[in-house]
Amino acid sequence: MKTGRSVVSVFLVLVLMLAIMTGCSTNDDFNEVQPTQESSASDESVNEVATEESTQEKITLNFWNGFTGPDGEVLKEIVNRFNEAHKDSIEIKMDVMGWDVLAQKLPTAMMTDTAPEMVLMIGDWIPQYLANDNFQDLDDFWSVTGLEEESYLKNVLDLGKFEDSYYSLPMQFNLIYLYWNKILFEEAGLDPNSPPATMDELADYAVLLTDPSINQYGLALPVKGAPQYWTSFFWNNGGELFNLETKESLLNSPENIATLEWIDDLAEKGVSPIGSTGAELDNLFMSGKLGMVINGPWLINGIKSNNIDFGITAPPAGSERQEVIAGSIGFCIPSGVDQAHKEAAYEFIEFWMSDEIIKEWSVRNGFPAWSHNVIADEEVMNDPVLGAISPLSELGRGYNPEAFEGISAIDGDALWPMIEAVIVGDDEPADIIKITSDEIDNIFSQYK
C-alpha cells in the first residue's frame, strides 16, 4: 500500500513537472533566442541561435503581424511560397498575434533590441513610433528593387509617407464600405440593387428596414470597436473634425452639430441595437438581422460564408461631398536593423508588391487592388465585389495625414466617447460636441 502510494506520488510529480515544462515551452514560429540586430557572422551568440541555418549567407527575417483571421492563412501561404523560392538565401519566420498584443509587445521589444526585422503596422499607429525614431525610412526601396512608384496608386503610397519620406510600404489598402442585405431590402419594399445614394436616403432606408418585433435593425451604429464610420457622416456634410497642422479642434461647428443630431435621431428611432460594438453588429449582419453596415473589406469573406446576398458600395454622399476614410497596413522596418536584413526585407516586399500577389490578395480577400495593372485586369474588373470597390479608391482620405502621434487619444478620449454619449446617453448633441471639442483641444495642448 505504502509502495503503491509512493509510486502514485512520484507519477503525479512527474506529470506536474511535464505540464510545467510544456507550458513554459515557446512557439515553434518564434525564435527561442532573439537574434541581435547587428550583423555579426563571427559572433558566437548568433551562431547559437536555433533558427539560423548553418550557412552564413542565409538570412532569417522575423516578421510580426496581426493577421489572426482567415486572411492570415492566405498570408501564411504566400510567405511559405516566398520561403520555398528563396530557401537558400532568405527565411521568413512569421509570428502572428492579435493587433492589440502586437501593440503592447513591439515597444518593449524595440526597447530591448529584440524587435523583429520586419513588422506590419496599421497606418494610424505609425506616427507614435516615428516620434521615437523607431522605424527606418525606406526611400531607397525603389532604387534597390527597381520598382516604379508610378505603377501604384499615389494616394495609397502616400499613406506610408510621413514628412515626405517613406516609412511604410503598402501591404494592403482599404476604404470602408456600405454593405447592404439585398433580401432585407426586398422584404422592406426597397430596390435590392439600389443602395442609398445620400445620407437622407440612408436614414429613410434604415428606418424602413428596422423591425424590433423580429429583432431586425436597419443600420449599424457601433459605439466602439469599429472603424471610424462616422467620419464620412461629418466630412460629407461639410464638417471637419480637427486641424492637425495647427493642432486645434474644428468639431464645434453648425455642420457637425447637425450631423450629430442626425445620428442621435437615428439612434432614438432604434435603427441599431443600442451600445453595440463593431464585432457584435458584424455578427448581426452576418446572421441576416441587420440591413446595412459600414465596415472594411475584411467582412467580405465572413458575409459570403454565411450566404448573405449582399451589395457593396461607398458610404453615401452628404450635402457637400463624398469622402471615405482610408486605411492601410504597411511593411515597416525597425531602426537598428542592419543593411543585409533590410535588403532581404526589401526582397520580400518587392515580391509582395508584384502584380501577381496584389491580384491574389485582392481576389482571395476582397481588398481593393492598388496597382494600375491589377485594377485594369479583366478578372478583377469582372469580379462582382472587386469591380464594385476598386473604382471607389479615389474617394479615400487619410485620417491622420500629418502623423499626429496623439491620434489614439483623440479617438479614445474624445471622439468615440462622443459617439457613445450620443447613441447611449440622453445629453444634447450640441452640449456633447462642445465638451468633446474642448477635450480635443486639451489633448492637442499636451503635444504643443
Partner: protein
C-alpha cells in the same frame, strides 16, 4: 568557524525550511518586489511606453490624478463592484457550503459540479457571458422573450452592466469559496452540535452559534481574498464591456490599462501612480479586515 559548526547550523530546521522556500522567495522577489518598487519609482516620473523620455516630475502625477474625474469615476466603479460582488459571493458560498458539507454522495457530486466554473478561464467565461447576455443574439434574451419579458441589454445599460459583471464573477468564483468554507465546517467537532441539540437549539441557531463562530478564520480568509480580488477586477470587465457603456464599468485596473497601454501618450508614469494608490487602498482595507477577524477569532 569549523565544518562541524557549519554543518550543525545547516542541519537546523529553520535553515532547511529557508532553503526549501528559497525558490519561491526568489520568484516573489523577481516578479513582485522588483515590479512593485519599479512601479513606485515610475509613479514619480513621466515615462511613456517607448521609454523615450524619463523625466522626474515629483508628485505631479498624483496631483493630476486628484483632478482627474475619470480616475474618481473608476474608483467609484471599483468600490461599487466590490460591494456588489463580495457580499453576494460570501453569502451564496456560505449557504451552499452548509448543504454540501454533508458527507453524502450527492453532496460530493454537487461539490464537484459547482467547482467547475472555478477551473474555467476567466477570459473565456467573460466572452461567453457577453454572448449569452447579448440582447439580440444571446440565449438569455431569448429566454426572457419566451417567458413574456422584454429583452434587456444588460451589458448595454449603464444601470445593469456592472451588476451583470458582478453576477458573472460570483458564478465563476463562488465554487472556491464554497469549498473552503465547507472544509472549515467539516472540521467543526460534531460533539458541539450534539451538545447544542441537547440544549434545544435548532438548525438555524446551531449555524449562528456553533458553526459561524468556529469558521471565522476561514471566513475571514475568504472575505479578505475576495475583497482584494474584486478591487483588482480587470479580465471580466475587459472582455465583457471594456469599461462601457459610458465608462460606467471602467474600474481602476481597466483605467490603468487604458492610460498606460491603449491611449496616447501611453503615460506609464501616470498609470503607475494610479496603481500605487490602488495598492495602498488594498493594503489599508486588508489590514482593517484582518484586524477585525483576528479580534473575532480571539473573542
Amino acid at each position: 568557524m569549523n565544518m562541524s559548526n557549519i554543518t550543525r547550523k545547516m542541519n537546523k530546521p529553520q535553515v532547511a525550511a529557508f532553503i526549501f522556500i528559497l525558490p519561491s522567495l526568489i520568484t516573489i522577489f523577481l516578479f513582485w518586489v522588483i515590479p512593485l518598487v519599479a512601479s513606485i519609482a515610475m509613479s514619480f516620473m513621466n515615462v511613456d511606453l517607448f521609454f523615450s523620455r524619463t523625466d522626474f516630475v515629483g508628485i505631479e502625477n498624483y496631483i493630476n490624478m486628484y483632478h482627474d474625474s475619470r480616475f474618481w469615476n473608476a474608483l467609484y466603479n471599483t468600490f461599487r463592484f466590490m460591494l456588489m460582488e463580495m457580499p453576494l459571493q460570501i453569502s451564496i458560498s456560505l449557504l451552499l457550503a452548509v448543504f454540501i458539507s454533508r458527507n453524502t454522495p450527492f453532496s460530493k457530486f454537487t461539490r464537484t459540479v459547482l467547482y467547475i466554473p472555478v477551473i474555467c478561464s476567466l477570459t473565456a467565461m467573460g466572452i461567453l457571458w457577453s454572448l449569452l447576455l447579448d440582447p439580440t443574439l444571446g440565449y438569455y434574451a431569448y429566454l426572457l422573450k419566451v417567458v413574456g419579458f422584454e429583452t434587456v441589454g444588460f451589458l448595454k445599460s449603464t444601470t445593469w452592466a456592472m451588476p451583470a459583471i458582478a453576477v458573472m464573477t460570483v458564478w465563476k468564483n463562488f465554487g472556491l469559496t464554497m469549498v473552503i468554507l465547507s472544509a472549515a465546517m467539516l472540521s467543526v467537532p460534531k460533539s458541539l452540535y450534539e451538545a447544542a441539540t441537547l440544549d434545544g437549539a435548532g438548525n438555524v441557531a446551531q449555524f449562528f452559534n456553533v458553526t459561524l463562530p468556529l469558521i471565522v478564520p476561514a471566513l475571514g480568509f475568504c472575505v479578505i481574498t475576495n475583497t482584494i480580488d474584486s478591487l483588482k477586477v480587470f479580465d471580466q470587465v475587459y472582455t465583457m464591456t471594456q469599461g462601457g457603456p459610458l465608462n460606467s464599468t471602467e474600474t481602476i485596473v481597466q483605467y490603468i490599462y487604458n492610460r498606460g497601454f491603449k491611449i496616447a501618450p501611453f503615460n506609464l508614469g501616470y498609470a503607475s501612480s494610479i496603481a500605487v494608490i490602488l495598492f495602498m487602498i488594498i493594503i489599508v482595507i486588508s489590514l482593517v479586515m484582518y484586524k477585525y477577524f483576528i479580534d473575532k477569532e480571539t473573542v
